[in-house]
């Protein structure tokens, strides 16, 4: 456990030292999306209805983007600061490194989600704060932090990291029910969108934010993805070491 704590401590110190930079980066995108899509050019009645639809989507999206941002941090550690070599030369089992990094990613994702929730409350958007909502957000951050580790180990340079973000994050941010219900897409596309990990995350956050329980099929699917991605992360880190 001490090795897991070492990995987390390093990330938390960095988070603490750069807190305001992170705070503004967590805030600016959801705020702009909120103002542009939920407020811009809408009548007051329509604005309130769309805001309460969009806010849970933004919470899930922010949790996704900022826990996945871990992959950028890992690659900066690998290619720029070379601090990854310190971990690799220490007797740290792969699982301990992966768990430490996932928890670090979860902290970032959770902070970002909290900022979006506070922003929603400031705008007067109704939202039910519950343990179910917390669980939904945490599950989202686990999935995307684990995915971040796997994809980070695929990158061979900083440039690859930008491409990964474009291929992995951007399509999900726009397609997976953040701005429009998934049901509004053509049937064939819906199947594809529902497989993407942000869709179950969005559905769970949306349901919990409305005060309903967590739909078991979506929770089961997201849990399965979490297990799969954590396993993949450990496998990929092992491969990176070779």
């Amino acid at each position: 456990m001490q090795q897991v704590a070492a990995v987390i401590l390093r990330e938390l110190i960095i988070l603490k030292r750069k807190f305001w930079r992170y705070f503004f980066s967590f805030t600016i995108s959801p705020l702009l999306y909120f103002i542009t899509f939920a407020w811009g050019g809408r009548a007051p009645a329509d604005r309130a209805e769309y805001s309460s639809f969009m806010l849970p989507g933004l919470i899930a999206m922010s949790a996704m983007i900022n826990s996945f941002a871990l992959s950028t941090e890992i690659n900066i550690a690998r290619f720029y600061w070379r601090t990854f070599d310190e971990i690799r030369t220490a007797p740290v089992p792969n699982w301990a490194y992966v768990v430490g990094e996932i928890i670090s990613g979860m902290v970032r994702g959770l902070l970002a989600a909290c900022i979006v929730i506070m922003m929603g409350l400031l705008f007067g958007v109704p939202i039910v704060l519950s343990p179910q909502l917390l669980l939904a957000v945490l599950m989202t951050t686990v999935v995307f932090a684990a995915l971040a580790i796997s994809t980070a180990s695929l990158a061979r340079s900083h440039a690859d990291q930008g491409m990964l973000n474009s291929f992995v994050i951007t399509p999900m941010a726009f397609l997976c029910g953040t701005f429009f219900p998934v049901d509004t897409y053509p049937q064939a596309l819906q199947w594809f969108i529902k497989i993407l990990p942000l869709t179950p995350a969005s559905q769970l956050v949306r349901s919990a934010a409305a005060g309903h329980g967590l739909p078991m099929p979506w929770l089961g699917y997201l849990t399965a993805l979490a297990v799969m991605f954590v396993g993949a992360a450990i496998f990929m880190i092992n491969r990176t070491k070779d």
Binding site: V7, R10, I13, R17, W81, R82, T83, T89, P91
Partner: protein, 302 residues
């Protein structure tokens, strides 16, 4: 303590380490001297379990680097050629995180961090971010970090690259202290003076192969203790002699200007390969070593 048995590492068509067989005793500073690209860093990476050999074995303290990497990692401390610190962490935090990675208990770690900060003369700077440190301070912190978990073997990969003369000497002092504490040290360098001053035993490496090994004094005397540099028709030439009298006699017969000096490990390398360890410092075409020298080099390669 450390043994290599027919160790080979290939990257595609390039052979970085070629059939290395070597035994390094405990408690000594072992210098690995060779030009850039000789394979020194690859050897360090294999010992630190970062790179797997293509064939052959490397054993540290009885543990195979491929079969028992976690056991090997517990025995070694690594100072990488590239300084690798999180710039946001302070010096003290860097040592703390490192010690935690080695599962050191809080109390032991706290005491050890204090010792290591003193060892590296960084007590006053311990609360400052590493990004504010000079190159020399970062190097010293890097050595202190490698020592935190009390390893038996320290791998120092070009530890003084980019440092000024004063900072280099401070690093040398630290390396000597490590030996006094009983550590086995592997020091790769392409600085001749560093290998001569620090190493108890030197392994001269070229193109992934060992071309000579022994104490610096032994290697230098085997080349000839005294060197004479003189201008030949196609560049600077060097001849070696067992004593100053023979060298002076040779100079008296020359019609060009000549310099007489004590031979060094660079001369050993030149004699064996016909090239300098640091080609950038070459004044002329050193490939014009004596035919006898070339013969010696071939003998070592075979």
């Amino acid at each position: 303590m450390i043994t290599f048995n027919r160790l080979t590492k290939r990257y595609g068509d390039v052979t970085a380490v070629d059939d290395l067989c070597l035994r390094l005793d405990a408690g000594c500073i072992h210098g690995m001297l060779g030009p850039n690209g000789a394979g020194k860093t690859t050897i360090v990476r294999i010992l630190s379990t970062l790179t797997k050999p293509t064939s052959g074995t490397a054993v540290v303290g009885g543990f195979d680097v491929v079969e028992q990497p976690l056991k090997v990692k517990q025995q070694i401390g690594v100072v990488h050629q590239t300084l690798n610190f999180d710039p946001e962490l302070t010096g003290e935090e860097s040592l703390l995180v490192h010690g935690m990675l080695y599962r050191m208990s809080r109390k032991v770690l706290r005491d050890r961090i204090g010792e290591m900060l003193q060892f590296a003369d960084l007590v006053d700077a311990s609360k400052r971010k590493v990004s504010t440190y000079s190159g020399g301070m970062k190097r010293r912190l890097s050595i202190a970090r490698a020592m935190v978990h009390r390893p038996r073997v320290i791998l120092l990969d070009e530890p003084t690259v980019g440092l000024d003369a004063h900072a280099r000497r401070r690093v040398w002092d630290l390396v000597r202290q490590l030996r006094e504490e009983g550590c086995t040290i592997i020091l790769t360098t392409h600085y001749i003076d560093e290998a001569e001053v620090l190493a108890d035993q030197v392994v001269v490496i070229d193109r992934g192969r060992i071309i000579a090994e022994g104490s610096p004094q032994f290697l230098i005397s085997s080349a000839g203790s005294v060197a004479v540099d003189f201008a030949g028709p196609s560049g600077t030439k060097t001849e070696f002699f067992e004593n100053r009298e023979s060298a002076a006699e040779f100079i008296s017969k020359l019609e060009t200007r000549a310099t007489i000096r004590r031979a060094n490990l660079e001369d050993v390398f030149i004699k064996l390969t016909g090239r300098r360890v640091n080609p950038n410092e070459s004044e002329g075409d050193i490939a014009h070593a004596t035919s006898g020298s070339r013969h010696t080099a071939r003998t070592h390669h075979s």
